[in-house]
Amino acid sequence: MSWQPYSLDRIAQKLVIKYRDREVLNESHKMRMTVAYGLERFWGEHLRLRKEAEGQYWKDVWAALVNQILQPANILLPNDPVNIEEPPRQETKEQKAAREARNTEQIKNMANKLWEFADEHPDDQRIALAVLTQLCDCLVWWTQRYKPKN
């Protein structure tokens, strides 16, 4: 067994540099706050803000947590892609209800997977949250240094 650097600090630095010119770095502080509400809430923010650059930032942070940090540690957090269907220019009431049901189904499936993960692997869930907290702390740290001044 050899030493494994998970490089939270470097990953956070890369993310902050990537987004520093897109006026979304205030989200770092919100991420640090939201992590207190758990994995589902954190994961869901990229969907709520999906139409904005902020949403992309949240998505990238989540992807970094799942793929770059936890996966090498063999903690396999669920990460289903959710493609929210936006309303077309015109739709009937039935079409609207069906579209919303499809969206809800995808979101609920993924949310349930996250809570099931917490039930089945409580230690892994706690590690995931602790690591996410640390990652957010790093994001805030770099944000405070790299955020462009007006």
Binding site: M33, G38, E40, W43, E45, R48, I84, T104, K108
Partner: protein, 568 residues
């Protein structure tokens, strides 16, 4: 508490563990209730904040919000929150009697945003009791200090309280806690309509937020110094609150009493401001629980919308118009230079179940020192424009049907505003009491707008539905004063009421478009009115070929072209 610790302490001749305090017991209750909730499903705040999972922010579906509020406040059988803050008057037997508490009641709403979560909500203290942080209270003290002359004793007192770079302050600011049933009418609503009403017909969303409704706060202070003059702290707090507490003060939130510029006692500030007293009747806004609430923020909304229209009619740069409006009235990035305050004088026979408001009140407008006199004069003109051409609040594009079409009984439509006083301090007021004087007023206003922000050559923002430009809008007025509305029945004719540009909908019961026609009965006195119909026709598509028939009918009713060009 560790099991067996008491016995161990007794054996070792030590103090046993103290009885749990009230606060600790409270925490245990909260924890148990939280565990109960957790056993069933994730609490609302722990869920993804998206439609279908938990949608606190959007007002369309309030079931999530209701559940979240219950999880937060843990209501008892009488619906009051489980936890309330206890007011501790000075010199009581309470162990915290070193804390000086000042009880203050606010007559309207107070918004204090925590800056967290998807919903605007206050900062929460232990047991979920919302509060205004001490840092915010200190902030309002410092703000007051900025307005005091350098050599005044109050400035020095505030510096002593709050501290300066060389010396720490002597006052501790513990924050302000709501006392009593703080959950009453907390769910507030904002429904931004500017885009739909001025620019396009796209649907808009209403958002929920949490604000205190007519709260009673206990402001708490303490000090290590023994010679603090608490009466002075009390006086300065009241003075500091005259500028408003928390957010949205420019729309009437957070005021303890009327601000100085609206109070004739402060003659210097009062004389620089504009004042007018109105009497209005109309359709009342309602909260999510359908409870009606007269909301003073509608005055600022009306002014903002009209400035957008007026400047969008002479300047074809959207960003220039937005920038100008934001400088005047503020945005999320900056405070506006103009302040306005609506002071309701009485509530007539409005009952809690009525959907109608009847209000007397005064509107006061002032400007910060960094604004120019021209800015405040311009705002005065826009206020006159709003009053003359339509009204304020919900359904402002229509006349008050109960007055002008009493036989119509289906549901309340429109509003009616009258002047209760002169326009005090308004510069170069043109008294509008006839077709000719309205024409002069509108010409004057258009010239002011051109001088203020006109493009060269002047051009409107072509894709805005209500850009105020003579080539896109036509104002018709009754040639003589009338006692009854001549045009009102046109809006109820089958053909016109299903024309999107007139009736706003194609099928009854389906509101889909904002009407492109404004209708106003401007009171002139002696039960006489100038009837004004404003028609926007820049985009003919919502007119469905009914433009010519409608204007022909208007002319038949005796209404004549007053401003704009006769469209072909």
């Amino acid at each position: 508490m560790i099991q067996g610790l008491d016995q161990w302490a007794a054996q070792n001749d030590m103090e046993p563990e103290p009885e749990p305090t009230q606060s600790q017991i409270g925490r245990i209750i909260v924890k148990k209730q939280a565990e109960f909730i957790l056993q069933n499903e994730p609490p609302m705040m722990y869920r993804a904040q998206v439609q279908g999972r938990c949608n606190l922010q959007f007002a369309g579906d309030s079931s999530n919000l209701k559940k979240w509020q219950e999880e937060w406040t843990l209501p008892q059988r009488d619906r009051k929150p489980s936890h309330q803050y206890e007011y501790q008057p000075l010199n009581s037997d309470h162990p915290n009697n070193l804390i000086h508490s000042i009880k203050i009641e606010f007559p309207y709403r107070v918004l204090s945003n925590s800056g967290q979560d998807s919903i605007l909500r206050p900062v929460l203290s232990v047991h979920g009791i919302p509060f205004v942080p001490g840092s915010s209270v200190k902030g309002i003290f410092r703000r007051l200090g900025k307005f005091k002359p350098n050599d005044s004793s109050d400035k020095k007192t505030i510096e002593t309280y709050c501290g300066i770079e060389e010396k720490p302050g002597i006052l501790r600011f513990h924050g302000a806690y709501p006392i009593g049933d703080w959950t009453n009418c907390m769910v507030d609503i904002v429904h931004p309509q500017q885009s739909r009403q001025v620019r396009n017909n796209n649907p808009t969303s209403a958002f929920t937020l949490i604000s205190f409704y007519q709260p009673q706060f206990s402001f708490e202070f303490s000090s290590a110094e023994t010679n603090i003059n608490w009466q002075d702290v009390d006086r300065i707090l009241h003075e500091a609150l005259a500028f408003g507490l928390g957010g949205k003060t420019s729309t009437g939130y957070g005021f303890l009493s009327i601000p100085n510029y609206a109070n004739p006692q402060y003659s210097e500030q009062y004389n620089q401001a504009l004042h007018v007293s109105f009497k209005g009747i109309g359709v009342c806004s309602s909260l999510l629980n359908r409870q009606p609430e007269f909301r003073p923020n509608m005055f600022k909304a009306a002014l903002r919308g009209h400035i957008m229209r007026l400047l969008g009619g002479v300047c074809n740069s959207e960003s220039a118009v937005e920038q100008h409006v934001n400088r005047l009235l503020g945005s999320t990035d900056q405070e506006g230079v103009i302040k306005l305050f609506w002071n309701s004088e009485e509530l007539d026979d409005t009952t809690t179940l009525s959907k109608i408001y009847t209000r007397n009140g005064s509107l006061h407008i002032t400007a910060e020192p960094r604004a120019s006199r021209g800015d405040i004069d311009f705002l005065g003109k826009v206020l006159q424009f709003a009053y003359i051409m339509g009204g304020f609040g919900k359904s402002w594009r229509r006349v008050w049907h109960q007055k002008f079409m009493p036989e119509y009984q289906e549901f309340p439509i429109g509003c009616h505003w009258e002047l209760n006083s002169d326009w005090i301090n308004f510069k170069k007021t043109i008294e509008v009491n006839s077709k000719d004087s309205l024409e002069a007023f509108l010409k004057d206003l258009h010239t002011i707008c051109l001088n203020r922000l006109g493009s060269r050559p002047p051009a409107p923002i072509s894709n805005w539905r209500e850009a105020w430009n003579p080539n896109r809008v036509t104002v018709y007025t009754s040639s003589k004063l009338v006692t009854k509305s001549q045009a009102i029945k046109l809006f109820h004719q089958k053909l016109f009421k299903t024309t999107p540009a007139i009736g706003g909908r194609e099928r009854p019961g389906e509101p889909r478009f904002v009407s492109s026609v404004w209708h106003r009965m401007l009171p002139i006195g002696d039960n006489q009115y100038l009837e004004i119909v404003t028609v926007f026709h820049g985009d003919r598509s919502p007119w469905r070929n009914q433009f010519q028939p409608f204007t022909t009918e208007l002319k038949k009713k005796g209404l004549e072209l007053t401003w704009g060009t006769q469209p072909s």
